[in-house]
């Protein structure tokens, strides 16, 4: 039992951190520009594929830096020549633009790298166990992923709170027009933030690719969950996104770990549900991947501004 709890916690935290890396960029973009970027997970996928191709020439570590930079540059271009053009037509048009972009990126990835998954793996020395607990290995790579996520979180916090650019971004989050009136180049700031957000997503892709899988469907499956994190966390709140990511990560892993069905849960609460009926039979493990969406709907009904957000979306 203890080992289950320990490993579920470790797994939940790891998954949560990966989610946070993905969603932190989206939170910045969303709160500043009001754009819920549907293609955000596609940039995550591009990060993984770029790192795979670059890694064949440079190795894992340089690719870890180069791939996000490339994707970030690509993201800036998308903002400059795509989103900015559409911006004049309102938020719905922007959302539709990113929706179409996700389609196109997914197809282009298939065109370049094929329809089957690619063999993007972590370097072999990282496959060794970092430690072994109750006979279960925990690989070095997983440790590295946690370390990178934490470093990124600290760097992001420093950037936003302690630098001049960070101050501008924070100001633009809440008082975009005022920042413009003060003579700052807000469009350029938008472009930078969009590119930066995409680069963060790509970083998540570089480490998420070997951890999960690098295949053309990787964006489509993770995309909606990232939205959930941003909305549940609350608009404009990185802290909220952080808690939401961890919450979803832990919730999913523990739902899987607990061996109980809906009937067990409800009957423990005093209800009388047939454990072999079609509803009672459903196990919590089955519901695990649905938890983000259940959470999303509940939050939007009962607390629309999210866990830590100040404004309603």
């Amino acid at each position: 039992m203890l080992e289950l709890v320990i490993f579920s916690t470790l797994n939940g935290v790891l998954y949560g951190l990966l989610l946070f890396m993905l969603s932190s960029g989206l939170t910045l973009i969303f709160s500043m520009m009001g754009v819920l970027n549907f293609a955000h997970a596609s940039f995550y996928m591009l990060g993984a594929y770029f790192a795979y191709t670059l890694g064949m020439y440079t190795g894992f570590w340089p690719a870890l830096i180069l791939a996000p930079l490339l994707v970030g540059a690509l993201g800036s271009l998308v903002e400059r020549f795509g989103l900015r053009r559409v911006h004049a037509n309102g938020h719905v048009a922007e959302l539709l633009f990113t929706f179409g972009l996700a389609y196109v990126i997914d197809e282009l990835v298939q065109m370049v790298w094929g329809t089957v998954a690619v063999a993007y793996r972590e370097p072999s020395y990282m496959r060794e166990p970092l430690f072994t607990l109750f006979g279960t290995d925990y690989s070095i790579f997983r440790g590295v992923v946690i370390l990178i996520s934490i470093l990124m979180f600290i760097a992001l916090w420093y950037l936003l709170k302690k630098t001049r650019v960070g101050m501008m971004i924070r100001a633009a989050l809440t008082h975009g027009e005022m920042v413009g009136h003060l003579g700052h180049n807000v469009p350029r700031l938008f472009m930078g933030v969009f590119g930066f957000g995409c680069a963060l997503a790509a970083l998540a892709g570089v480490i998420g690719g070997p951890l999960l899988a690098t295949e053309p469907g990787m964006a489509a499956t993770l995309g909606p969950i990232v939205f959930v994190v941003v909305v549940v966390g609350g608009m404009g709140s990185l802290q909220g996104a952080f808690y939401a990511s961890l919450l979803i990560g832990l919730l999913q892993t523990f739902f899987v770990a607990i061996d109980a069905s809906l009937a067990d849960v409800f009957n423990a609460l005093g209800a009388n549900l047939d454990p072999y009926g079609e509803v009672g039979r459903i196990s919590l493990a089955t519901l695990a991947p649905m938890t983000p969406f259940i959470l999303l709907v509940l939050i939007l009904i009962f607390r629309p501004r999210g866990l830590m957000g100040e404004l309603e979306p």
Binding site: N89, F97, V279, F293, P304
Partner: protein
């Protein structure tokens, strides 16, 4: 250009009722004459039937997005559940007419869309209230969550949804009306045509009701609506129910046409399809989604015969429309129509035509480029076949053609812009 894309085209004069009538007569005549064109061609009828279903689906979606300003990612829930209800009813008819008694034995399959409509409306009625508090992103996200949840539930309750294999029925049961046997797709066409016409007319009539007008108000300025005493949430809720009903109507049509329904029909992909059709056709014009449904359905079903990159083309068309023609194809048609009515067409036509030539050249150039790239990366065929011409990705000529086409298109486009500026 710098207006919100879902704002309607400005109307200079209000249409006289006679003109409105002409449009409907033409629509009915087209529906009646289509079978003459395609006599004996069942593929055409199959496609027409799909198009009919998608027209109603896309229009019902546009009640939310185009008219009510509510961006939904879960509209397929109503389509799918409507379809399931109709299918269960069809199975009931089958069983009842076997026994020869009971209520269902007297219900014709032709009425199934109504069953779907009621089911869609009821689902929206039950689920909708908490969703309609806000429009915008909150609504988009909550419908996304709803769609994912219902789609997952579809796999979890096999007794209702039939598991992965879905549930299936037979449309040739129950009392036969108007001699329609519904055996062939050409028979089904009359059924689809009737309900398409009825659905389109009802949705158009809806825009003329006070509620329909109010839905535009809640889109444009919910605060003001609140001030004059109509809570926006109530208005949104009613639109939601109406859109759900018509989504269910389309689902009921689909149940009869396909005779099978699977849980996939509830998910994000068909919801995205509705959005795609409505946006390609144009959100601001009533008939926009009709155009969109025709174009997108044909692209979906026919394009993959000619190229492996068909989905890429659909995505690019969508992206191009969002970026360069935010009013969609319907908006373009409307522009021409308005110019023609105002006697302005002669003056503006040269600019439009040369613009169309430019766009055409650029599109052809891009198509050749994509096919060449596809051939270079996949290389199962020796040549990229484009419009009956073979291009060899290994040689320079194909790529040169691309450059020539794109440059020519760009130059004409620039000249066109200048022409239009001079006119203005």
């Amino acid at each position: 250009m710098s207006q919100d894309i879902i704002a309607p085209m400005q109307r200079t004069k209000s249409r006289t009722s006679l003109r409105g009538l002409v449009a409907w007569v033409v629509f009915a005549a087209v529906l009646l004459l289509l079978p003459v064109f395609f006599q004996g061609n069942s593929t055409a009828f199959t496609l027409l039937n799909v198009i009919g279903i998608n027209i109603v689906f896309a229009l019902s979606y546009n009640m939310l997005l185009g008219q009510g300003g509510m961006l939904s990612f879960g509209h397929a829930v109503f389509f799918g559940l409507g379809s399931y209800a109709a299918m269960h009813a069809m199975i009931a008819i089958d069983e009842a007419s076997y026994a020869g008694e009971g209520f269902w034995a007297h219900v014709p399959v032709l009425g199934m869309p109504l069953v779907g409509m009621i089911a869609g409306g009821l689902v929206a009625l039950v689920l909708g209230w908490p969703f309609c508090r806000r429009a915008g992103t909150a609504f988009a996200m909550i419908t996304l969550g709803l769609g994912e949840m219902v789609a997952a539930a579809g796999q979890m309750f096999p007794s209702l949804f039939g598991g992965e294999a879905g549930i299936y029925g037979n449309r040739m049961v129950g009392p036969q009306w108007f001699g329609l046997e519904l055996a062939q797709s050409s028979d089904v066409y009359w059924f689809i045509a009737f309900w398409t016409f009825a659905g389109v007319f009802a949705m158009w009539a809806f825009t003329r009701t006070p509620l329909g007008r109010m839905s535009n108000a809640v889109r444009d300025n919910p605060d003001r609506l609140q001030f004059i005493g109509y809570p926006p949430r109530n208005v949104r809720f009613m639109i939601f129910i109406a859109a759900g009903s018509f989504g269910g109507l389309a689902g009921g049509m689909a149940a009869v046409n396909y005779e099978i329904i699977t849980p996939e029909a509830l998910g994000l992909i068909p919801s995205g399809l509705a959005l795609l059709m409505a946006a390609v056709g144009g959100l601001g014009v009533f008939y926009g989604p009709i155009v969109g449904a025709v174009v997108v359905t044909l692209m979906n079903s026919m394009l993959s015969d000619y190229t492996d990159a068909s989905i890429l083309y659909v995505g690019l068309v969508f992206l191009a429309i969002v970026m360069f023609a935010p009013r969609g194809l319907g908006g373009g048609i409307e522009q021409v129509r308005v110019a023609w009515r105002d006697g302005d067409l002669g003056r503006r036509l040269p600019g439009w035509l040369s613009g169309a030539v430019a766009v055409g050249l650029i599109i052809v150039g891009l198509v050749v480029l994509i096919e060449l790239a596809f051939q270079a990366t996949h290389g199962s065929d020796e040549f990229a076949h484009v419009f009956g011409v073979d291009f060899d990705a290994a040689g320079p000529w194909g790529w040169l053609t691309v450059v020539v086409l794109l440059v020519a298109g760009g130059l004409i486009k620039r000249a066109t812009n200048k022409l239009r500026e001079d006119q203005a």
